[in-house]
Symmetry: C2
Subunit: 201 residues, 2 copies
């Protein structure tokens, strides 16, 4: 059985949990308290030298890190990852967008506000993340104004990757009020089968 | 024929150029001067709403963005991307590591120092990027101390992705002196066939 090491409140870990529920893959969950430094112990660094969650332990005892690489591994040969070469590249395009242009602003803002509960202590940093965070939401809005799903004609792991932190963007201080297409897409993702099995972010 | 829109000095664009040379894929190059705002014009935003280079124009006239998604698209069914499911996920793991834990520190430092030529005007930002940049190099060193290639047993697009900014890390103010395994790997990548065809970063 697969084992997922992660933090329940982490959107990056939520991605893998949601995908495994939707793919009906059984797994054991091991909670890692990143605020207590549990992702930087020698034991954890042996699993992922980069000291980040999530990490997936495979049946052969080896480890796979990086949320989007884990999603890709889990979704191979499933409806969550298309078979067409260009469609697969488009899925990856949006997953790269998520990690570079979305997560560092929206997810990290949520980290300071919602997890550390210390927006005052990070006011300057949070202010600097507002414009690029909203720019990422605007890129999503532009795509979703004329498409049901973010990367291709069907629901894919790119939707899972971007849903993880977008649906809790308000916890990072981002107001989705002006992003109607994004909000409608959030509802579509939440209506996917097996979605209800997973509750917390 | 494929068309690549990019900036000659950009490592993210260099990734695609190097892969196409090594795969003997013909392409037309169109230089985009990001310092003059050419990646933020209405015409360019129609190609990539995220306003970033590189962008690959395909034979059907559609566009693909994000350097690592372009690499993945180009390398499918080639020796630069393994066929095994787990090996492919490991390639992606290291490409995600590159975009999240390496590029935002080493590449952006190089941008301020080498391209903008204004380290004084970004001194505080550059100082903040030193520790995470060296941490990324340490993660690479730890892997390369006991492996020839970054993701699997063979040279892959993960090596191309990480080589792009690592081999010019000094231009971003990072000293590779203490990273002997990384330096030996740089030499191995540079010795790959067709590498000499491409000169500038």
């Amino acid at each position: 059985m697969l084992t997922l090491y992660g933090t329940l409140e982490s959107g990056n870990c939520y991605k893998a949990r949601l995908a495994m529920h939707q793919l009906a893959v059984e797994f054991e969950w091991i909670e890692i308290d990143i605020l207590k430094g549990e992702s930087r112990t020698a034991d954890f660094l042996a699993k992922n030298p980069n000291g980040r969650v999530p990490v997936l332990e495979l049946d052969d005892g080896s480890y796979l890190a990086e949320s989007n690489a884990i999603l890709w591994y889990l979704a191979e040969s499933s409806p969550l990852l298309p078979t067409d070469r260009l469609e697969r590249a488009r899925v990856l395009q949006w997953m790269c967008f998520e990690q570079y242009s979305h997560e560092p602003f929206i997810a990290t803002s949520r980290f300071y506000i919602h997890l550390l509960q210390d927006p005052q202590g990070h006011a300057e940093l949070l202010a600097a993340k507002q414009d690029p965070g909203y720019a990422a939401l605007a890129v999503m809005e532009r795509r979703l104004e004329h498409a049901d799903w973010i990367a291709c004609d069907t629901y894919s792991i790119a939707d899972i990757a971007l849903y993880a932190y977008t649906h809790v963007a308000h916890e990072g201080g981002f107001d989705l009020g002006a992003y109607g297409a994004v909000r409608a897409w959030i509802d579509r993702v939440a209506a996917q089968p097996a979605h209800a099995l997973i509750t917390a972010v």
